[in-house]
């Protein structure tokens, strides 16, 4: 029996267990949308293609499954660009489908034609322009495989309209012949590296584990990490992407490191004699000036991507593989009685924790943004899925919402995409309907994808948005305050709307909170409400994120709030 490309498309999605797509239709996608009309796939119609891809990304990050999104040709496709780059920087398995003009019109500057294949090469793990319906099924199989294998990432498939309508005989299930690139070392070299690492661990007196997003992505790696840390008594600091890889309430937890990390995490990294990086990539927001980073330490790097090893910092030993497998191997390899004592080191770290806890000023009658995050933490018992926007809201969320399990802190770490958090929260809630999902937002970021309120309300996606409304692009303003003589060039968001009315206009619940006393009540109310809620917290307009490593500085050389 002959089948159209559109039919094969839907069948192949079903073969991959796809039950949810985030998308936005258009002329060249009509054949596929017509096929979706009867398909057992939930299609979430967002109000902007960027919302669709961030939602698919949020869905993927919390579920570990592939997030699928779809947009039409031309402007629909180009609206995916920010979302692709976001997913690429944070290694998120997303498969994005774009409609394209028919193959005979390709290259003619046709209506709504854009070369999304060419545009997306540098921001996808791989991409395809399918010119032959016979190849469609195979390409989709490859795309799902590539998105999830090795270091995950987004894959884009461009589908010309005639490829969707052409009828072909039932295609065979493809045999995947993709090269699986192994680690670039010999078994002997691997053994040598492993032995070297075990001996470095056994000799270290001041070790620290630095865990990143790779631990979140590798199923079960958090258990292996905890096992290793507890068995060898090694304190653990996580990156923004690694939040949840190690319980932040654990005595061995140092919290987050880097530009806005805890002082004790940064001091520990500066003073350690062994740094074990796992699933992390020495981002500049983590290292500060690389030549000053962990300069007293031997550095061990465990990662799935060989290209990350030695990219920023030369390492003393490394292993390539899934974080879980490598951590397990190390945990099994060490003998606690053979380790150097870490007692003094752990005492020193406890002292730093007592001397330099995270703190913020409590002013009479003024809501501190940190207090809002703390209250969300309290009222959700630390069990919520938190998404963030980008800027101060993101850093306060990271500092004050302690995560105890993976896939619960969802944030655009690499690209730093404002407008990410809200659509990502929608995707997250759809993937995990039983968990509370809070988007911790700023008044600037929220307005970048505020139109998705319609998506949340219509689809009954019960997400909560906590706007830390300071009337500023707060993080940029903070830099202007500290490094540009308080010249607040274009960072005051004059003309902000009434967020309560906006929420109500879309059919969500809007709450305005102007005093500290109302904060816990509003959060409780939002949690109890069975529909999307937007809480507009009017917070201290000039509060800053501290501590802070000035750009280009060493991470143990941090700025703090001046005592008044």
């Amino acid at each position: 029996m002959k089948k159209t490309g559109a039919k094969i498309f839907v069948e192949t999605l079903l073969e991959h267990g796809v039950n949810t797509i985030f998308g936005y239709p258009g002329g060249v996608l009509l054949p596929i949308y017509d096929e979706l009309y009867h398909a057992p796939i939930r299609h979430i119609l967002t109000r902007h293609e960027q919302g669709a891809i961030h939602a698919a990304d949020g869905y993927a990050r919390v579920s570990g499954k592939v997030g699928v999104c779809m947009a039409t040709s031309g402007p629909g496709a180009t609206n995916l660009v920010t979302g692709l780059a976001t997913a690429f920087m944070d290694s998120v398995p997303v498969v994005a489908f774009t409609g394209q003009v028919s193959t005979h019109l390709l290259g003619n500057d046709s209506f709504q034609e854009a070369d999304i294949y060419g545009i997306s090469i540098p921001i996808t793990k791989y991409n395809y322009l399918v010119k032959d319906t016979a190849r469609l099924k195979e390409v989709m199989y490859e795309a799902f495989y590539l998105a999830t294998s090795g270091r995950p990432g987004p894959v884009l498939i461009d589908l010309p309209k005639d490829v969707q309508t052409t009828q072909i005989d039932e295609p065979k299930l493809p045999e995947l012949t993709l090269p699986l690139k192994g680690p670039h070392y010999t078994p002997e070299e691997r053994k040598r590296q492993l032995e070297l690492i075990l001996s470095l661990i056994s000799k270290a007196e001041r070790p620290v584990i630095y865990a990143g997003g790779g631990v979140i992505k590798s199923e079960g790696a958090e258990k292996a990490l905890r096992h290793l840390a507890e068995k060898a008594k090694i304190p653990v600091t996580t990156t923004l992407m690694g939040k949840g890889a190690f319980p932040e309430t654990h005595p061995l937890s140092l919290g987050m490191l880097g530009m806005h990390g805890t002082r004790y995490a940064n001091y520990a990294v500066a003073k350690c004699d062994l740094l074990i990086a796992v699933g992390a990539r020495f981002d500049d927001r983590v290292t500060g000036e690389p030549s000053t980073f962990a300069r007293e330490a031997k550095i061990v790097h465990l990662d799935i991507d060989p290209a990350e090893v030695g990219k920023i910092i030369q390492v003393d030993a490394y292993l390539i593989g899934q974080a879980k497998d490598l951590l397990q191997e190390l945990a099994e390899g060490i003998e606690p009685q053979g380790l150097a004592s870490h007692e003094e080191w752990l005492l020193q770290i406890d002292q730093w924790k007592r001397d330099f806890p995270l703190s913020y000023p409590k002013k009479e009658g003024v809501i501190s943004p940190q207090y809002v995050v703390e209250q969300i933490y309290e009222k959700t018992q630390g069990e919520a899925i938190i998404t963030t926007e980008v800027g101060q809201n993101q850093m306060w969320a990271a500092q004050y919402y302690k995560c105890s399990r993976p896939r619960s802190f969802i944030s655009s770490g690499g690209l730093g995409t404002m407008g990410y958090g809200f659509p990502a929260a929608i995707g997250a809630k759809i993937a995990c309907p039983d968990r509370i999902v809070f988007d911790i937002a700023g008044d600037g970021s929220f307005q970048m994808n505020i139109q998705e309120l319609a998506t949340a309300v219509y689809n009954k996606v019960n997400v909560k948005v906590a706007i830390l409304n300071n009337g500023f692009l707060g993080m940029v303003r903070q830099w202007q305050e500290l490094f540009y003589g308080r010249r607040y060039s274009q960072t005051r968001l004059s003309g902000n709307p009434d967020f309560v009315k906006i929420a109500e206009g879309y059919g969500a619940l809007g709450l305005r909170v102007e005093t500290p006393e109302e904060v816990p009540l509003a959060i409780e109310r939002a949690i109890a409400e069975d529909r999307p809620v937007v809480i507009d917290f009017h917070v201290d307009p000039e509060e800053n994120v501290y501590p802070m490593v000035p750009p280009g500085g060493a991470i143990n050389d941090m700025l703090d709030r001046k005592e008044k």
Binding site: P122, P179, D305, P306, A317, Y318
Partner: protein, 182 residues
């Protein structure tokens, strides 16, 4: 330091854009690049000359290996290899100079591939030093046009181990020696 890198890639459209894009996005240099089919028509061989310190070259190689379409990467500079470039040079050839042009061509084991009353065009292959020496000699006579192919290169001795990465798992492990950390 300059490195000559052989990159075996899937012979598909878009591959050149991916490789070129990788170099430009990460700020690596391409001094010369040439592409052609191998004995397997589904595989192309690229010869890329690039320069940078050891860390940059290591990143170039690792980033190339990350690309889905890249089958195998060999840094030929690590071994004994042959490198050649072909050049076509069109020179002014008034009758007074013809004998000299022919003599130079002969010394460089070149061939005259086109002659007309005003110009002669010669074809010469060799390594970079030889081509440059030839150009220096011809300059005083008057070069009208030059077309260089860019370098192609190959390790000496036994054949490159069959493209073992293709289709089933991994690049030949022997290639990795250059990857090791010091």
């Amino acid at each position: 330091m300059r490195h000559t890198i052989s990159v075996f890639v899937e012979n598909k459209f878009g591959v050149l854009a991916r490789i070129a894009g990788l170099f430009s996005a990460r700020g690596f240099n391409i001094d010369s690049l040439s592409v052609g089919e191998t004995t397997d028509p589904t595989v192309s061989r690229m010869t890329i000359l690039t320069s940078g310190d050891d860390q940059i070259i290591e990143q170039v190689i690792k980033q190339l290996r990350r690309l889905v379409d890249v089958i195998k990467v060999i840094d030929l500079t690590q071994s004994d290899y042959v490198e050649r470039e072909m050049v076509l040079i069109k020179v002014d050839a008034p009758s007074a100079h013809r004998a000299e042009i022919l003599r130079i061509c002969d010394i460089f084991r070149g061939k005259i591939v086109d002659v007309n009353p005003k110009t002669m065009t010669m074809e010469v292959t060799g390594d970079e030093g030889k081509i440059n020496a030839l150009i220096d000699l011809l300059k005083p006579i008057g070069i009208k046009e030059i077309a260089r192919t860019g370098k192609v290169a190959m390790a000496r001795g036994k054949q490159d181990k069959n493209l073992a990465g293709k289709g089933q798992g991994g690049m030949p492990l022997e290639e990795v020696v250059s990857e090791e950390k010091t």
